[in-house]
């Protein structure tokens, strides 16, 4: 643990008055030092106040240093102040909390600092980070609400005497938000149970071992720790170059917390966030348009990506390809007018919407952290923190996990696992590194897309077309037949090495419950499954997942990949 009194020049004396005024002899230039927190009582009855030397001011050398001062007994005492921890985690999202809880369980003294800066629309939320509050959880629940709309439609074909009812956004949103709030509470309780100190502070580095936390009321506390983990995640990007974007648009930070229906919505972006939001909005019966500048789901297999958007288009989402917005204006009736340009024809077009949702990417939350004070390096292009395989930043005792770290998949379970493994390493419980290969994921579009391993493009790029065999099938989920649902986009492909035993490189599944289907196969790939292994697995009849174990048609054969019969 870092001990106090790192550097106390013998010649320096400071006096702190009852009102908090500090005078030092010799006097320190204001640019050279700072104060953080309030005087705290020490065991001998005196109080201490922490001063820090910012560095590079010509005094005391160039290193940031800590100065400890013991002032008079007459100081006002407040409970806050400088606190020392074995591990300090900045950011109370999935990764940060997992790391903090694991380290605390292994006996470390741990604190978590978390603060949600309200969105430009003023949306704020509790502990748990993006996933819980404005990501996976509310997203999947709204996706489920949309799926239920489809099921109500199906139900009439299955004998239920029901007509398609209207949807009440407010009721859904309240239910979703209540669940999220219960999770916020659950996270607080878990931290308490594991004796992790939680601060609702906005944190910034003071020096490599010290972080200053500012509360909502502006109160400051200085926290120091042997190890610091940055897990501040990211926030949606606003295309500020577009006039009206910031004033009138919302992002995924807001959509799940809207109390009223967003109405006719324009979703701008081609990310999975864009497609998922557009998907459930359409499913809830809203007039929804997605505007995509170039390709959808860029990092994903492109054949699958186009099937995803094709399915959405067939099911009522309007998709504008090759277009980009120029301007958003508010009309006198309160609606939003968006002017966009078709990039191919350079033709301008206009549309009126109730809501414009930007889903054009995310920005890592590194700007307010004063990373330069700690010497933590970021990628100047992405603003993400550079990390090594140990998750260590350019400063060895400072780490970064989750969406804020450069080159990591922006996924909750990866952040959680990275956080836990990091805590185990810090506590010398294990030397296991996080394996970022073959991370499975699912895009919860109306027709879900689950994948693990390489895309076809990536497999060909790595191994060459001649060495890759792709098995594929168009299948029809049994549940689709009775309501006569269109299954044109229900498609599976397995990308394998061509040479026996045909190691599986990637699996791509488009269909209902893709998340549930993909998980087990992700394990299979982790275990080094070959095409032969999968083919020798007995199917579970009748499921969609069994179609994976029945993939017999290779793309190379040119045969019709449509599944018929049982």
């Amino acid at each position: 643990m870092w001990g106090g009194g790192d550097y106390t020049p013998a010649s320096l004396t400071c006096l702190v008055s009852g009102s908090g005024q500090t005078t030092c002899t010799p006097s320190l230039p204001p640019a050279c030092w700072g104060m953080c927190g309030h005087p705290i009582p020490s065991q001998d009855g005196t109080s201490s106040l922490t001063l820090y030397h910012i560095g590079n001011c010509g005094l005391l050398g160039s290193r940031p240093r800590l100065l400890l001062v013991l002032p008079s007994q007459s100081l006002p005492l407040t409970p806050a102040g400088r606190q020392c921890y074995d591990l300090l985690v900045i950011g109370g999202g999935s990764g940060g909390l997992a790391c903090a809880k694991e380290a605390a369980q292994l006996g470390k003294k741990v604190a978590v600092v978390d603060y949600v800066e309200p969105s430009p629309r003023g949306t704020r939320w509790g502990l748990g980070g993006t996933c819980v509050n404005v990501g996976c959880i509310p997203k999947k629940l709204m996706h489920q609400a949309a799926l239920l709309g489809g099921m109500i439609h199906d139900a009439s074909h299955y004998g239920w005497k029901v007509a398609q009812p209207p949807h009440d956004w407010g009721k859904m949103a309240e239910a979703v938000q209540n669940h999220v709030k219960s999770l916020n509470w659950g996270h607080r309780v878990q931290l308490q149970d594991r004796k992790v100190k939680y601060f609702n502070f906005k944190a910034s580095f003071v020096n490599p071992h010290m972080v200053c936390g500012v509360s909502k009321g502006g109160e400051e506390t200085l926290l120091s720790a042997d190890h610091i983990v940055i897990a501040t995640g990211g926030r949606p990007r606003y295309p500020t170059h577009i006039e009206g974007a910031l004033e009138y648009g919302i992002t995924s930070d807001d959509i799940f917390w809207l109390k009223e229906s967003p109405g006719k919505t324009l979703v701008v972006g081609a990310s999975y966030v864009a497609l998922e939001c557009a998907g459930f909005l359409t499913g809830l019966g809203l007039d929804t348009t997605v505007m995509i500048r170039s390709v959808p789901l860029r990092a994903f297999d492109q054949q699958m990506a186009s099937l995803v958007t094709e399915h959405m288009a067939v099911h009522g989402t309007r998709i504008l390809r090759g277009c980009t917005p120029l301007r958003v204006e508010r009309l006198s009736d309160g609606r939003l007018q968006v002017i966009w340009v078709d990039l191919a024809s350079d033709k301008k077009d206009t549309g009126t919407f109730d809501t414009v949702l930007w889903a054009v990417g995310r920005v890592p939350e590194t700007r307010g952290l004063n990373l330069e004070k700690a010497g933590v390096r970021t990628n100047p292009n992405t603003q993400k923190i550079l990390v090594d395989a140990q998750e260590a930043t350019s400063v060895p005792h400072i780490y970064a996990i989750g969406d804020v770290a450069e080159g990591r998949p922006e996924l909750t379970p990866t952040a959680i696992m990275a956080g836990r493994l990091l805590a185990q390493r810090l506590c010398s419980r294990s030397s296991d590194l996080m394996d970022y290969d073959n991370v499975p994921t699912t895009v919860f579009t109306p027709l879900e897309y689950g994948c693990v391993g390489l895309s076809e493009e990536e497999a060909v790029a790595r191994h060459g077309e001649e060495r890759v065999e792709v098995y594929h099938a168009y299948y029809k989920p049994l549940e689709f037949v009775v309501p006569e649902r269109d299954a044109s986009q229900c498609y599976i492909k397995m990308v394998c090495l061509r040479e026996p035993p045909q190691l599986v490189l990637g699996l791509h599944f488009l269909g209902p419950n893709a998340g549930e289907v993909t998980q087990g196969f992700a394990l299979g790939i982790k275990c080094g499954a070959s095409y032969q292994h999968v083919m020798r697995t007995v199917g579970i009849h009748p499921t969609c997942a069994e179609e994976v174990a029945k993939l017999r048609i290779s793309k190379r054969s040119g045969l019709d990949p449509t599944v018929t019969g049982c």
């Binding site: 109500i152 005497k161 029901v162 009440d168 699912t442 049994l478 007995v538 997942a545 049982c566």
Partner: protein
């Protein structure tokens, strides 16, 4: 000298023919070469398959694709209630397919309830119409029958809608629905006659009770139903009837889901009880009386305790027997050619290449002794058998770790050992069982119970914590289990589960974060709404 020369020339010629790059591959591809080499012109067919279900058809089609002359004999003997159906056997007509569709209908009923919590303004009481559902399902079954017939025609399989019965070696009598008899011979036979539901052998059972053979095409709503039995069929039917809003009672003589993990079986039953299914344990029916005719009518069931002398009576509209299935091996003349049948089970013992005690007679599917009664197993076994018989291939069907799912309202998926079986084989001290209850995200908003869904794996401690049993009770268990079964084929271990990233938020991800061992006795309950 001249003689030697002649011999040499002959051998050269022979080797030239066989290795010709132009002639042989073509002949091989079209199957002509193999026919020339193997075909026995003294028989009408190379292969006759008895039984047109999943296993029989896959075998027949594969053999035909390999260029063989193949016949399928398939005739559905009507049930005692007079129900009959088309080609493709139990799975398509009176099994998996209609079962899963009725299960889906019941799940949709649950979805209607959930949907209100998710903002859909559905009316509180939605009625279900049995006829609409059954018609839709039968329409799909009919289209599958036709597509199978089409596939058989396209592959030039001779499909004969007749009952097959051996009369002497290599010779079979085919009797059609009108009683006309025809005789066929073949070099090889495959028995794939499957099974049919068993009756109790009590007064009134064949007259008044129905079985799964009748159930899926029942033209009227069965009303208050007594399901007799504890098989997966019994629980599945009881489950979706309850889901459709009917009053359901299940009468169980002893164990639930025999052969399955008993902890899971009890959890399945209690999840059904939550849905309103009533269980009468340790009773067997002794008499069924008809009180009123009708669609449905009214039946009185007298049942006797299996433990004492207690007698109970109950009134039901429908009694569905699901007490087990008997192999269709009795009336097909097996004794005439000496094919051994297990007296007790009626099943046909085969070796690891599906061969019966008579070398040219094979068996696949549910009639085979000691193999899982599953459609995909039969399909795989049939296909591989045809390839071995006629395609020069060697691959055998791998029956190890066949995954199974019971489509009860809360689905139960499993692969590998049941816990009690694992204890028997490995001994308790060599096992570690990891488990947890879990709460699907979709259930939170729907305010469904947070401690119903359950995940369990059984690991062999001294074999690298290899996963030897996988069990999941929860929504979409069927979809979840498949991939894990593939992973178990590749030697899944607990470490690999821990190392695999979960897909968030899904139910399946629960298996990547299993921490609590059963032996620790720690609490696994989840906090509720």
């Amino acid at each position: 000298m001249p003689i030697k020369h002649r011999v040499q020339r002959k051998s050269l010629k022979t080797s030239h023919t066989v290795s010709s790059p132009l002639v042989t591959p073509q002949a091989h591809q079209s199957g002509v070469l193999q026919k020339l080499l193997q075909e026995d012109p003294t028989y009408d067919y190379d292969l006759i398959v008895i039984g047109g279900g999943s296993g029989g058809l896959s075998c027949a089609q594969e053999a035909a694709a390999l260029g063989r002359r193949v016949m399928v004999l398939d005739l559905v003997v009507p049930s005692p209630q007079g129900t009959s159906w088309g080609v493709a056997g139990t799975c398509v007509n009176v099994g998996c397919v209609p079962k899963k569709l009725m299960h889906q209908a019941a799940l949709l009923g649950q979805a209607l309830t959930d949907s209100r919590k998710f903002g859909w303004e559905c009316s509180q009481q939605v009625k279900h119409n049995w006829e609409t559902m059954t018609e839709a399902i039968q329409k799909h079954v009919g289209s599958l029958n036709r597509s199978y017939q089409r596939a058989l025609r396209e592959k030039a399989v001779a499909y004969v809608n007749s009952y097959g019965e051996f009369v002497e070696h290599h010779k079979i009598k085919a009797t059609n629905g009108k009683g006309q008899e025809t005789y066929y011979t073949a070099a090889k036979f495959v028995i794939a006659t499957g099974e049919r539901p068993r009756y109790l052998g009590i007064q009134g059972d064949k007259e008044y009770c129905i079985t799964s053979d009748d159930f899926f095409s029942l033209p009227y709503c069965p009303g208050a139903t007594l399901v007799v039995g504890a098989s997966s069929v019994a629980l599945e039917c009881a489950g979706f009837l309850a889901g459709l809003g009917l009053e359901v009672t299940v009468m169980v003589s002893s164990q639930l889901l025999r052969g399955f993990d008993q902890e899971m079986a009890e959890k399945v039953a209690s999840s059904m009880q939550q849905l309103g299914v009533r269980f009468l344990r340790k009773f067997v029916p002794v008499e069924v009386q008809q009180l009123e005719k009708g669609s449905p009518g009214k039946l009185k069931v007298v049942a006797k305790s299996t433990e004492g002398t207690e007698i109970i009576e109950g009134l039901y509209n429908t009694v569905l027997l699901a007490i087990g299935r008997d192999s269709c091996t009795k009336k097909i003349g097996l004794e005439k050619i000496g094919v051994k049948v297990n007296e007790k089970t009626g099943k046909i013992p085969v070796n690891d290449v599906e061969q019966s005690s008579v070398p040219y007679v094979y068996a696949v599917g549910d009639v085979v002794e000691g193999q899982p009664e599953l459609t995909p197993v039969a399909v795989q076994a049939g296909r591989l058998l045809a390839r071995r018989l006629f395609g020069g291939r060697l691959e055998k069907c791998d029956y190890i770790n066949a995954p199974t799912v019971v489509f009860t309202p809360l689905e139960y998926g499993c692969c590998g050992y049941a816990e009690e079986k694992a204890v028997e084989v490995y001994r308790k001290e060599n096992l570690e069982v990891y488990h947890t209850l879990f709460w699907p995200l979709e259930w939170t908003v729907a305010c469904r119970d947070s401690n119903t869904c359950y995940a369990k794996i059984i690991c062999s401690k001294f074999d690298n914590d290899r996963v030897i049993g996988f069990h999941v009770l929860g929504p979409k268990a069927g979809e979840i289990t498949q991939g894990f079964a593939a992973a178990m084929k590749c030697g899944l271990t607990k470490q690999l589960l821990d190392d695999t990233i979960g897909i968030h938020p899904t139910c399946a991800q629960v298996f990547t974060t299993l921490e609590t061992t059963k032996s620790s006795g720690l609490d696994i309950t989840q906090k509720g709404c």
